[in-house]
């Protein structure tokens, strides 16, 4: 019952409260997270594969878990509405996918620029043209530099945990930035898996606007934001410097999020078999496929470690640099054509010819384990380390 929920500390809810296993879809995991997040208001607009999660959030509103909820007129308007609601000093939630993300694009830097801890779920999918509603995560590449925190969930469990934890990270006074929680659509949203949930009579403490580093837009919190020379239109050094320093402060706030991500999420990445000389580095469902590929390779006597990157912004560049210091090969499978994760990793480490971007699948294609296995074997052949048993077409990006 909505009225019977008890507010608890994030640490207790995330780390200590007993958990019960349920078998639910990723969309249902979103609703389970929102149910425990003490969200004041959510705004929804339909797009596949996001819609079901926001239907369920609507049900939560009808049950009294949220104080307001409505369907907006398009994604730009929805992101603007949650921006307005957040300016008013409450906790908000929304979600979108692919073309919806692009339609709303103008609002994401606005969220970051106004230092609002909005949490938005992105159920990633193809963007036109050619049209595709199927899973891929090219939209994440387009959001890398809008100023928001970005977390990439591997599965429904991650999705549940990351949405809840995103509030705890984003609302820290020294951070106070928007957070996007991303999953590869359908693979996570429309499949069932075992998810461990804390009791639903617990919820996060309410958002406290008095802890915000910027004044709430409510005429209760002095002072108002006022500038003698509007930054937008003045062409002088002071305006440029003020604008630039604000950008720097947003970037610095994202850096300060690292310690909170470590505290609540256990780190910006997870590493399996850190002593391995070959790594698969991935985020999202490419991590799950990498796990399967690692099993296949192990059976063939090839030892491969795993780097699961959970935080895309801030990016764990130093952690990746440290864990790959001794590595000969880092293969980066991705669900998009651009290879944004490989670029990020290449930009983070020395001797980045060790990084092989691929395999890359998109347009709804799945990522068979063999593609990843072949990528590693072919890379080993090129480096002269090992011959593959059955050479196939090179799929490296």
């Amino acid at each position: 019952m909505a009225g019977l929920q008890r507010e608890v500390d994030p640490e207790y809810l995330f780390l200590e409260a007993p958990r019960r296993q349920v078998f639910i879809t990723g969309s249902e995991a979103v609703a389970e997270a929102v149910k425990r997040a003490n969200v004041d208001m959510a705004v929804a607009y339909p797009i596949t594969p996001q819609s079901e999660s926001m239907h369920l959030v609507g049900d939560l509103y009808a049950q009294g878990y949220l104080k307001d909820y409505y369907r907006g007129e398009n994604e730009f308007a929805v992101m603007a509405a949650v921006h307005g609601a957040s300016l008013g000093g409450g906790r908000v939630f929304t979600a979108t996918s692919g073309p919806g993300t692009l339609r709303a694009m103008e609002m994401f830097p606005v969220w970051a620029g106004s230092r609002q801890p909005i949490v938005c779920a992105f159920m990633c999918r193809g963007v036109s043209l050619p049209p595709s509603i199927q899973p891929e995560n090219i939209e994440m590449a387009m959001l890398l530099d809008v100023g928001m925190l970005m977390f990439h969930a591997e599965d429904a469990q991650d999705f549940f945990d990351m949405i809840l934890k995103a509030y705890a990270v984003a609302e820290q006074p020294d951070v106070h930035l928007p957070a996007g929680v991303f999953v590869d659509g359908f693979f996570v949203t429309h499949t069932r898996s075992a998810v461990l949930l804390p009791p639903d009579d617990l919820k996060l403490s309410a958002y406290d606007p008095r802890r915000a580093p910027v004044p709430t837009f409510d005429m209760e919190t002095p002072p108002i934001r006022m500038v003698r020379d509007p930054l937008l239109n003045k062409s002088n050094f002071i305006s440029y410097a003020a604008n630039a320093s604000w950008h720097q402060e947003i970037a610095a706030a994202a850096e300060r999020a690292r310690k909170h991500i470590r505290r609540y999420m256990g780190g910006l990445l997870e590493v399996e078999d850190p002593a391995a000389a070959i790594f698969l580095a991935a985020s999202g469902t490419a991590v799950s496929q990498s796990r399967e590929a690692i099993k296949v390779l192990k059976a063939e006597g090839i030892r491969v470690g795993l780097i699961k990157i959970m935080s895309i912004r801030p990016f764990p560049a130093r952690e990746i640099e440290a864990v790959t210091a001794h590595a000969a090969l880092i293969v980066v499978p991705e669900f998009n054509i651009g290879g944004w994760l490989a670029r990020e990793i290449k930009a983070s480490i020395d001797n980045n010819r060790r990084v092989v971007g691929g395999p890359r699948v998109f347009g709804g294609m799945t990522m068979p384990t063999e593609l990843i296995v072949d990528q590693i074997k072919n890379a080993l052949v090129r480096s002269g380390a090992k011959r593959p048993r059955s050479p196939r077409r090179d799929l490296s990006g």
Binding site: K67, G72, A77, A80, A81, G84, V110, M219, V227, R228
Partner: protein, 295 residues
């Protein structure tokens, strides 16, 4: 509300230009004001960046004076000329992206109703014709369809003024403007008429040549939006820079428009009319109407 809403940093307070000191000391917050009181308080910093004779700057001054409770009013706007003066008043103003203003205002109003259920927090959109009628038209209309309890004020200078005088949907047909090199090919978008059929409980079409009409319209619109639903005020704010008339002719241009295509018009629902009658009966004059407590 907070009456200390403008609080200069103590170490810099002495360095503030006198007009800013005046804004802090004599901003329009501490007692009820009206258009009649213009000149007795500091509604806008004199060195605002508007062009001489700007109709928008005048409309913002009238608006600042007419708000029924400025100490509990949040203004939402867009980039553009209206931005210049709104940041030079003692009003609390937020400017985000272009065209999103009615959606931002809707979200803000709903959150303020959640957080302050027993206090009226007035949310007023103040934006130009481009923001409301062109790029933001769907958001404008949908806020009305949804019956959001916000006021929308269009400062209609019939042109994209800040970007250099381009045709807007509110420009007059035939007018030669940038991006309309052969003259505008279609009439003004009938936003005022759309407001009537889209859920607004009150609407007024006024020009800056009628300051009391502007004041009354803004006050009625804000008071009615608190109780009944969306309201709309469309103010003609002539632009001497882009319409190429001398800056001392703004009021004459506005007066001529009032006789021509910008006649005064007001509409209200039966409920709104009843509310205003009740309001008038409980005060000596409508300009000094006390705020009605929420039931």
């Amino acid at each position: 509300m907070s009456t200390k809403i403008i609080t200069p940093v103590a170490q810099f307070a002495e360095l503030l230009p006198q007009e800013y000191k005046d804004l802090v000391a004599h901003g329009p917050y501490h007692e009820r004001r009206s258009v009649r009181d213009l000149g007795t308080f500091k509604e806008i910093v004199d060195e605002h960046p508007h062009c001489a004779g700007c109709g928008v700057a005048l409309a913002v001054r009238l608006l600042a004076a007419a708000l029924p409770s400025p100490a509990d009013t949040l203004i939402v706007g867009t980039p553009g000329c209206s931005f210049f003066s709104l940041v030079q008043t003692a009003l609390n103003y937020s400017n985000t992206a272009f065209g999103n203003q009615n959606a931002v205002a809707a979200g803000l109003k709903r959150m303020l109703e959640i957080r302050f259920p027993r206090v009226h927090k007035d949310v007023v959109v103040v934006a130009g014709d481009g923001g409301i009628a062109d790029i933001g038209l769907d958001l404008t209309l949908h806020s009305w369809f949804r019956r959001e309890k916000i006021t929308t004020v269009m400062l209609d200078n019939e042109v994209y003024a800040n970007t250099g005088g381009q045709e807007s949907g509110m420009s007059r047909q035939g007018r030669v403007l940038n991006m309309a090199p052969r003259g505008k090919l279609f009439p003004k978008i009938p936003v005022f008429e759309l407001a009537k059929v889209s859920g607004c409980v009150y609407g007024a079409r006024v020009t800056v040549a009628g300051p009391y009409k502007v004041g009354r319209a803004v006050r009625n619109a804000v008071l009615l939006a608190r109780e009944l639903g969306p309201t709309y005020v469309q103010v003609y704010t002539p632009c001497p820079t882009n319409m190429k008339f001398p800056p001392d002719q703004t009021l004459r241009v506005a007066k001529e428009a009032e006789k021509d295509h910008y006649s005064f018009e007001e509409f209200m629902s039966a409920e709104a009319a009843e509310y205003l009658t009740r309001l008038k009966a409980t005060s000596e004059e409508s300009e000094k109407a006390p705020e009605l407590a929420k039931p």
